[in-house]
Amino acid sequence: MEDTPLWSALCVLAVDPVSVGGLWLRGRAGPVRQRLTEALAALPLPLPLQKLSPNIGDDALYASLDTASSLRAGRPVLRQGLLDKASVLVLPMAERCQPGLSARIAQAMDHHRHALIALDEAADDGEGLTPCLADRLGLFVDLDQIRLPDPLLLPPVTQIEAARQLLPSVKVAHQTVTDVVKACAELAIISARAPILTLAVSRCLAALAGRQVVELADLQRAAALTLAHRGIAPAESQPTPPPETPQDPPQDPSPGDQPADPPPGPSDPLPAEVIVEAARAALPQDLLERLAQSRAQRAARGASGSGAARIGNHRGRPIPSRKGRPQSGNRLDLIATLRAAAPWQAIRRQANPQRAAQALLVDPGDLHIRRTKTLSDRVLIFAVDTSGSAAFSRLAEAKGAVELLLARAYSRRDHVALLTFRGHQAELVLPPTRSLVLTKNRLRSMPGGGATPLAGALKLAYVTALRAKARGMTPTIAILTDGRGNIALDGQPDRTLAEQQSVQLARAIRAAGTAALVIDVAQRPQPRLAELSLCMGAQYIALPRASAGRLAQVLEASLES
């Protein structure tokens, strides 16, 4: 047990949770995770554990006035915010954490009083911890990769205490820093937090081993915990620079304030390479790919409309307030409350002589809460036919139109998603995003050619629209095709079945109440496509020869109407 990554992670977390940022624990909820979270509660941490909910509001995070108690007491009563006290935050369902909350937690962590244990239950691709939090967490453990020993032993308190004592005197040689930075460069890790956290983790590991100098073994173990899951450059960071392999012979120790390690023997591999190897060996490749993918998709989601409910209590245009108790998520409408209380003052004063000294007699029945109304964001889902039949030449126009629309989308607060279909299946190239940077990167490489899986495209568009709806956005589907669907949903060439499925899906889209638009880009308008758009309840536009600008114009005009 004592040299498994999990054991190391728990020890490091117990020694100095704040410096290493915290632990990213990936895995589905279940008995294994249950046992582990119970173990975390029993871990000899220097700070108390504090659980957060992914839907937590600002009134709970930050200190605020406790209105109900204030009214009862007749003087202001403050409730402490969860972030006011130094603690180890525990965030269950971290994959559901909205960008806004992530940013708040990240800001709190930057003040070096909090650590975070993120319980990431991501199941599907495209889910996962938000990048701004993932970047700040020094330890990563994937529960699918490990088997928990039974019983799960916790690091002994005496060892942790000793390590904590030793930690301030643990030294890191200049050469070690260089090695870590080189290893990060070779792994194409951009963020400067990665090497900083690696050093913090390796320092804890050295202290646990009772040493005052960080050695290569510590770095290796730290790399497995800290660097391994960052080891693939996120898709958005293209073009990736060629990995810089340290080719120069063993570096002579540069002048530094601290004594350098003795240079490694000539037959040894370079320390940076050893660190890279340790990081690479720690996790299997497919996990890295999955993580990179979820990271990219997560980034694409970005500053979404955050599932804005139509009527809420938080933001937007105010609508008349109503009676109710201010609970979490509700805000007191003070004026309405005072107005409700005003007529009763004289009466209440007479009825309650013991309260006569209070300036204002407010009863719980007077309380009004605020309500506001917001419009949800719109997401425009483009399904572009990139098959060989006709639309291949349309690809450039479609790309141009997407970018033009996106460039104008800021003023309308629109999001854009792009899916293409060719060969055997449809593919979501660009999940709903508002980021021009990301869009450009994704659009740069978009291949064309092959058959036309129109049914698959409709299905994917439908699913994407439903997902967008679930997040409080209003989806609109725009399909650019020449209409000759010939691949069924299972990827087999079967024109009749494909037709049938297309019609079914079109009806489903209509039933879901999603606005749609079909743009026929074939040389001659296709009657079948007009029928299909009728099934979909969609607008049908035949546009045989259109430039990017014209396409964007037409789309914009039909969307405004």
């Binding site: 209105t67 960008p99 701004c132 080189k182 951009i190 400067a192 407010v362 141009g400 033009l404 980021s435």
Partner: protein, 356 residues
């Protein structure tokens, strides 16, 4: 109800969230490795706050917020009326709703106010002082973050994630330099002139052009790509993390020198001459780039003047224009979605053509 009195500024200090009281001295500004554009932009706004704010966009972990927080520690103190919620420089500048016991002037650090993402409208613009409304039945105004940021800096981390209605509010105030509160039965106005500093990661969403335009300067930061620079970054950060006091002492002289140069730059600012040829150059550059409105020219000129002042030059030179053109104009260009190179390259190209 028009007359309302100000709540004593300190009465709710215990209400402020954690984000506004960092526990340790920030990382020294002069110890930040590289990122020269970002540092220059921040220093220029310190010399001439009229330039109008800095937007820092870039990758995660590139020291965006580190630099802004470091700037707060670097800035010279200001003189303000004691207890004035809007940091008025003279007693007669205090808003009429403020009643102060004394009118002594004190020296206090330049305000650097953090606008947390979750800040409610009440907290930003100010609202009815609930404490006094409940406790004493008085209608009093509780000043918000905008009041505290007057004559200082307002910092928004992750500015692209800020809620739309807060953005609208900020745009309005940043434009007029005055905060007008007409709500909860209050009618209050107070000056709110601050330097807006925003930071964010463009991959999490872009900014609205209107807000973009409010920032005088914008800089893009990227992670350094060569090993030596990165080693230096990590080394200094590591030294700061392990022994902050020693590290701060080591860098104190450099920070002090920088503060002196800001002060001498401020003193020299009014004396810097603007030759007609430079005005011509500004106009030619903006026309060639097709930047919207005249804000670009004005910012370019002010930034170049601040740079000249900081260098002790008697007049603005073309070299100054060249150095600040990218940060003053890059974010004001019409977006060209099909341009791969980005705005920075376009400005650089045009500068090379227009100002040989």
């Amino acid at each position: 109800m028009t007359a309302a009195t100000a709540a004593p500024h300190s009465s709710r200090s215990h209400l402020r969230p954690l984000a506004e009281r960092p526990r340790r001295q920030p990382f020294p500004f002069s110890a930040i490795v590289g990122q020269d554009d970002m540092k220059l932009a921040l220093i220029l706004t310190a010399i001439d706050p009229g330039i109008g704010g800095v937007l820092v966009f870039g990758d995660r972990g590139t020291g965006k917020s580190t630099a802004v927080r470091a700037l707060a520690a670097l800035l010279p103190p200001i003189e303000a009326v004691e207890g004035c919620p809007v940091n008025s420089a003279r007693p007669e500048h205090c808003p009429d709703w403020v009643t102060l016991p004394a009118t002594t002037l004190i020296s206090k650090p330049t305000p650097m106010v953090d606008l947390p993402l979750g800040a409610s409208e009440d907290r930003v613009v100010g609202a009815l002082d609930i404490e006094r409304a409940i406790g004493r039945g008085e209608k009093a105004f509780e000043p918000g973050l905008l009041a505290r940021a007057n004559r200082g800096y307002l910092y928004i981390d992750e500015v692209n994630l800020l809620e739309d209605h807060i953005v609208d509010l900020l745009l309005d105030v940043a434009q007029s330099g005055e905060n007008v509160v007409e709500r909860d039965g209050l009618s209050i106005r107070h000056p709110a002139r601050f330097v807006l500093v925003g930071s964010g990661n463009p991959e999490e969403g872009d900014l609205r052009p209107q807000l973009l335009d409010r920032f005088g300067l914008s800089v893009e930061v990227t992670s350094p790509r060569d090993i030596d620079t990165r080693v230096a970054v990590i080394q200094r950060r590591d030294a700061y993390d392990t022994d902050p006091d020693a590290f701060l002492a080591e860098w104190h002289p450099q920070d002090a020198a920088l503060r002196d140069s800001i002060l001498s730059g401020r003193a020299a600012l009014a004396g810097v001459k603007t030759p007609n040829t430079i005005l011509h150059d500004c106009a030619a550059l903006c026309i060639a780039l097709g930047s919207d409105g005249l804000r670009g020219e004005l910012t370019l000129l002010r930034a170049a003047r601040a740079l000249a002042a900081s260098e002790g030059a008697p007049e603005i030179l073309r070299a100054h224009l060249r150095q600040v053109a990218g940060m003053a104009l890059g974010h004001r260009l019409r977006r060209d979605p099909l341009d791969e190179a980005g705005a920075g390259a376009r400005v650089a190209r045009t500068v090379a053509e227009t100002l040989p």
